[in-house]
Symmetry: D2
Subunit: 390 residues, 4 copies
């Protein structure tokens, strides 16, 4: 158990965190705040919570921010915080996609560590530019592919890496939802509105919103490098421009094959991210809606159910777990693990200590790979379902 | 409940059945025999149970066949039975795939009703030829796409047809097994040997053995007509020529999209045929390994679990069910439903009665569609994963 | 796989079977007939299918019985069949409970093997008398505690017996249904009517109809001998005399403890017979509605899912299995296993061969134990929930 | 969604919280701290974290407490905090059971609101005394029967209360674990040691540690008042004095019946708290290990799966939920809901506002009922399993 473990001996020095986006009416910002708070490693001290100045102000007040550090504008926040003796050390970027790039660029240039929601940016060109800036600044840059924070996902990755499954042959990943079955965006619902709007989401709809999560999870666990894909993207919602259903065939270096399905129009599915990996000697199956369980199926033996914290659960899972087996941890805990891992990295920086090799979180490299995936899928589909290299 | 119902008032006149294939060491022949026996509508009276005369004889003796009607050769059986006053009315063909065509042709020409295992034949040309003969002979010809015999599959089909789901948008079907994870054929195991041998199986491996089941199920339930596909077939088993893993994207007339995965190298999967269908207003989910349950997910309402014989189960399911809900029926009962439906059709023929419109079983048309699917998938894959029309 | 295996070399000599009860409108009789037919080891040749002569006649005709062997009366059947050269060798008794004793007594005295539905009889006195007669006659007497016929139940029993769980500590068994939630008997439904009528069911309602199944299953698998019980029986249905909900605490010799719940008024439960057994070193869990799966939970290791025919499945299960793993067998197959086991015993008698020690089916001893359980539960409950010896 | 909702407009005034117990090596203290932090409504400002002064000091430092407010003794803490202008408003008591009474008494007398772990105290006499003091002081007193904090448990309670199930007939509750299968206490493991020690746990072992949770949950959801029970407590662990397996029959006012099973020696069970409630018109089923799901089974209709935040989920559940359906919340979120509800009550007190009638958390009355249950169960079992009034 690592309860409170991330806090350690230097609890008095929580990481000073700012946030861009996440004001009233937003969804993911609040998730980031709980995630940051879970293990007591961060303190939210500043924010530019909305592009609407009034909403920004009201949101800051509601969260108890010092009014002087509740900014109407992210650029101003970057500039002012830099001058403070106790200015922010890290910033969470939780805006719609199209703002990720300018905001991230600004804070990276200011030397602030960044925790950015996915997808990283909306074009590969932006991704490359940002990666260049990060390398130059030497700051930490995390992308919240939060599902890789689940203990049993880490267990799965470790089992593949250690050879428990033998060489991987087949990867089946899917992420299905139903909330866009009807044209929710036409009702003015804020989440639906920006996620179906190319100007705010970029060229990908479901493929960017959830397909990229599935893709990252498949790569994270399998350890494979995709080489090409064939995609068939559809828009079923009335009047919808961006895709809401995504069918992708994948080929990996070394010969493994995969399938990826992402849909936001599959009634009965809430947040059904599911991964199955099959190798020469065994298989693994994990489903986000039952995240504390991992099926391990060694060929020729009965199926085994490995549980978070239970027998057969490895140290790599234990280090990101808080409560004993049978006491379910969920989405917020998995998300918090990304924050806690980033906190460990930031603290090592503070003291100049060597980075802990066990610290694992998705970086700007993973973020860039996600953008490349979205672009390739959109391109393949536009060409009628031709194979496209990655 | 329709227990013993298929027998009805004319029980004394069971249908006289012959069998080709299914001798000692075979698998599916015994399944057909139990299926034929389940509802007491058939009597097995003749057989050419093996291409090996000694095995044929021994198999007939073991099954209690009259030695005079236990034949060494199917052609002889067709000829001799024709002359008998109480010769066979129907024949079950349960040989390896490459023999389906010559055997079926022989019995159709002899005016015998045929119940043939899948895939129908190994080429489209054979399929067309056989269809022509069947039309000419006017006999009944069933193909044991047995999974369409499950009550909850029929329930699903009925629900789609009646509009419960609205227009169908997405079809996800998969059929995964693990028994060919290792090169079982190299050990001389009979089932593995012929199923991985192109000379006996035809051009498709997993795609023909199980992919075609998945394809038929998807079409049967969704009622959709596939228009084109893109396939990526792989052979992972050492030294294996035919495919053992099948990835297919599907496009249907009217714009629906689908995915089909079939694999025999997915450790932990025994016979995991699973279908999901999503429409504008709801979804359905069915898994062969829990065949008595059907998930129905009307959009905007809690998920509902419909059980065979339980509340919400329709007459179309009840007519092929034997025992109350909670008393699981399985593979053999589902298979037997095909036999019982065919028996109803044969009896209507006997009396010259009009065919019961509710009688439903896969016909030669379904068989031919399956062969076309196999050919298209193999062609698409050979072309590197190009889209091919169906 | 033992497909058709029970038939063996002497298929031409199926066991000649009669049936008492099971006419039109009955439920369990048809189940017995399918079970007898499944492995082709029996031929139904005679019947006294109803106490109503007209219904008996019509039922016999529907089943294709020779009219001369379709009797209006079971006593007449016993007398007449005895004189036939090819008279019945065995009889299935599928009447309401109160007729089990007189019918069974008659056929045992006639030297006919008996397969009797449960509960054996309605009083311990009858059970003792019948046991005495069976011993005297030397005939085979089976009681269809059919759930002990499931392969995974046999697997469980074998695992307990072989010490995989260590000494057993706790047994949790339950059998819940919902079909008597409302007063179905008031509608004239035949099954409900006699099962809630003390004159036909005996002193126990749910405790006799399903509680006794649960009790037998718990004893069969755990191998434990119950020593005393404390029962609280309730009648919730309006106007119902017999119990429809049963709560029992159990104490076993050697110190193990158990709980038994049986209910016919638990909405949402169809036929939810479930057994859990816990020992010093591991546990087992089995549910009738998913009969092909057995959870095995060795302490300190991941849970394992053993499947019928799959890896880890023992020979004791394989001998009563017909199709490969993943092809679900169900209620009828489990029931048929009892018939097939009895057939093996009867055939050994025919030839004078020594009984196969692996042949396992519930005998009159198990039937008598069930009656004792019912009586003890009713007595305990009538005394306000006092502990009563078994 | 109520993300951050508990914080509201007065975020700057988090509730000042102290903690007694919960130092290094403890389990539940850390859970309380995360729960308090989750919705940002509390600030931990003081503690007497261990009865060992050195451990108390080290624990306080690790948590970042002001050293002047990290006390070696709870009585000193009560005295000193009272004098501070910004002294604690509430205290969490997370010691072993035997200390609950003296600690709670001290803080209640000091006018501090109390959040006390279960069981409340170790005797009914203490419970009565404490209830008297609380009434006199007029403070808020919560007992962390945390499972009643789960949204779907609240949904279930609401559905019963609103009559969806009709009059309740049967309640089945169980709570099984396996961590005491072997004599873990003999290894010196701290949690096992005190929980199996009558001097620290009181007269109940498993019945107090987990049985009381099951009992509270059954009463909370069903709304029924238990009138008598019959218990059979066992100690299976070698050398164990307190019970580790608990079998209880329950009778409720109005005629409903129930069963309760609690075990810490059931291999394969991690934290399997499960409740089933059946009424005249429907049933409910909930399992702690899948807390986001609630089965609702209206009689005569298909089973329905209600999910947290999903369709059919009521406002009573929504007010204690943070993230959308399909994003699982778990044990810590459920626990945090108790804290957030208490925070709402404390804030109402601060302002003198009327208490929000929707605020729901287990109070000292529930705590006292739990103690009465433990005593009755122990008494019943000691008398050989006699029925005892509640």
């Amino acid at each position: 158990m690592t309860i409170d473990g991330s806090k350690g001996a230097d609890a008095q020095t929580r990481i000073r965190l700012g946030m861009v986006g996440g004001g009233q009416g937003a969804f993911i910002g609040a998730v980031h705040r709980i995630a940051a708070r879970m293990d007591d490693a961060y303190e939210l001290v500043a924010g530019a919570l909305s592009s609407d100045p009034d909403r920004a102000k009201a949101s800051g007040a509601q969260l108890g921010l010092d009014p002087r550090r509740s900014y109407a504008d992210y650029a101003e926040m970057a500039k002012r915080e830099r001058r403070l003796k106790d200015g922010i050390e890290a910033v969470s970027i939780v805006t719609p996609n199209h703002m990720h790039f300018p905001v991230a660029r600004t804070f990276v240039k200011a030397g602030v560590h960044v925790i950015c929601d996915k997808p990283l940016v909306t074009t590969s060109r932006e991704a490359r530019e940002l990666a260049r800036l990060v390398e130059k600044a030497g700051t930490i840059f995390a992308v919240t592919y939060n599902y890789s924070g689940y203990p049993m996902v880490r267990q799965a990755r470790e089992m593949v890496a250690s050879g428990d499954l033998g060489a991987i042959r087949v990867v089946q990943v899917e992420y299905s939802q139903d909330w866009l079955t009807e044209s929710l965006e036409a009702t003015g619902q804020k989440q639906a509105a920006w996620r179906t709007d190319p100007a705010k989401s970029g060229a990908g709809g479901a493929v960017g919103d959830i397909g990229t999560h599935a893709y990252q999870l498949a790569c994270f666990v399998s350890g494979l490098t995709p080489s090409e894909l064939c995609a068939d993207l559809s828009s079923f919602g009335a009047g919808r421009v961006l895709d809401d259903n995504v069918h992708v065939l994948l080929r990996f270096e070394g010969g493994a094959r995969g399938m990826l399905w992402a849909s936001q129009v599959a009634p009965g599915n809430e947040n059904a991210l599911k991964l199955r990996v099959y190798g020469e000697r065994g298989g693994l199956e994990w489903c986000q809606e039952e995240p504390n369980r991992l099926w391990y199926t060694p060929f020729g033996e009965p199926k085994r159910l490995i549980t978070r914290g239970g027998s057969g659960s490895a140290p790599v899972a234990a280090r990101v777990t808080r409560v004993p087996p049978g006491h379910p941890e969920g989405y917020l805990e998995g998300f918090a693990n990304i924050y806690s891992e980033v906190a460990r990295a930031i603290r090592a920086r503070r003291t100049g200590a060597a980075a802990d090799p066990d610290v694992t979180f998705p970086t700007i490299t993973d973020g860039a790979a996600g953008v490349a995936f979205i672009e390739a899928a959109v391109t393949s589909s536009q060409r009628g379902g031709r194979w496209v290299g990655l």
